[in-house]
């Protein structure tokens, strides 16, 4: 059953890419002069925004898995986390490629200047780079090699990647920061859940530690 659902989720995750491609190539894909027309007056921007939006969305969906599976008591949701996280990386790669290729046409000089000088590009680049080790170590083999604790610690980088992604969005818009703040608010809620859980767990651990010596004394 899980297997079938996984296939369905996989296909659904590809729908945003399919829609972008559909709009890019248009109704007559053999007519190269018409490419991009379906994306409006500024196809480059539409591709960049489309892939960027979906990178952030998949990051937030991935971060929502743990709170959801606990709150809804649906432990099976964990089985989808890796796939969703990898889709965040996939759309991140598309976003980065769009920037490198369609926007800058591999103009190395300009790209390096952008990364150094423009803070929204610096932080966006950071968000992408942070995802690379997570994608590489997403396999069961790597979990074994690193050990569960260390693997989990490494994969907490996703928090910083998502924060950097939202800051990237806030810094790049010209005037209206409503949309980036919506993403920011969702991210804040998802991270707040974790902070609350950590506090609860550490206070529980502390109270159990406090009772420990007495037990030993009695023993």
């Amino acid at each position: 059953m899980i297997r079938i659902i996984k296939v369905v989720v996989f296909i659904v995750c590809l729908v945003p890419l399919g829609l972008l491609a559909w709009r890019f190539f248009g109704a007559h894909p053999s007519d190269m002069t018409n490419w991009g027309a379906g994306l409006g007056a500024n196809p480059v921007e539409a591709l960049e925004h489309g892939t960027g939006d979906w990178t952030l969305r998949f990051l937030l969906i991935t971060l929502a898995i743990t709170p959801l599976r606990k709150l809804l008591r649906m432990p099976a949701l964990i089985k989808f986390r890796r796939m969703l996280g990898l889709f965040a990386f996939f759309y991140g790669c598309l976003h980065f490629t769009t920037y490198l290729w369609v926007d800058k046409f591999f103009n190395v000089h300009e790209i390096l200047a952008d990364i150094v000088k423009r803070k929204y590009i610096t932080v966006g680049f950071l968000a992408f780079v942070l995802l690379v080790p997570l994608a590489v170590t997403s396999t069961a083999g790597w979990i074994r090699r690193l050990g569960g604790k260390r693997w989990q610690a490494l994969h907490r980088l996703i928090y910083f990647s998502a924060i950097a992604g939202v800051i990237h969005y806030v810094w790049l818009v010209k005037a209206d920061i409503h949309k980036p703040l919506e993403y920011g608010a969702i991210l804040a809620a998802l991270l707040a859940y974790r902070v609350i859980m950590w506090q609860r767990r550490s206070s529980a651990a502390r109270s159990s530690l406090a009772t420990l010596p007495r037990k030993i004394a009695i023993g």
Binding site: A41, P43, V44, V102, E110, D114, R118, L172, K174
Partner: protein
């Protein structure tokens, strides 16, 4: 005033042989082809002359990117780079030309530091 009186500055009532559509800025719009597009104000109903340099919307919203003049200038180090442009129907970006390629307006700005007065 020099900019307003320049022969390349147009006040348009129509487009492509027809009258101007609402979305294109009816009843009257300005076209200043050597400046960024937002300087070509649409739907003009009143023109007033001032003795001081007025504030402009985008200059207030994002002074780092949009100066008072907002001439097309690839050399200004903007927050959002304007060094290259994508033309409609073209896949490859091309370098943006100074004054959008309208060199005949350069004389109006002679002696001005266009990196500062951008």
């Amino acid at each position: 005033m020099d900019e307003a009186m320049h022969p390349l500055t147009l006040l348009c009532f129509g487009m492509y042989g027809g009258s101007l559509a609402n979305q294109d800025g009816a009843p009257l719009r300005l076209i200043v082809p050597w400046k960024y597009g937002f300087k070509s104000a649409k739907a003009i109903v009143k023109i007033s002359f001032t003795d001081k340099q007025p504030n402009t919307t985008w200059n207030e919203a994002n002074p780092h990117d949009f100066g008072f003049y907002s001439n097309v200038n690839p050399n200004v180090d903007r927050y959002h780079s304007q060094a290259h442009e994508h033309r409609l129907g073209e896949f490859r970006p091309r370098p943006t030309l100074m004054f959008n390629g309208y060199d005949q307006v350069a004389g109006m700005y002679s002696g001005m530091d266009l990196a500062k007065n951008y």
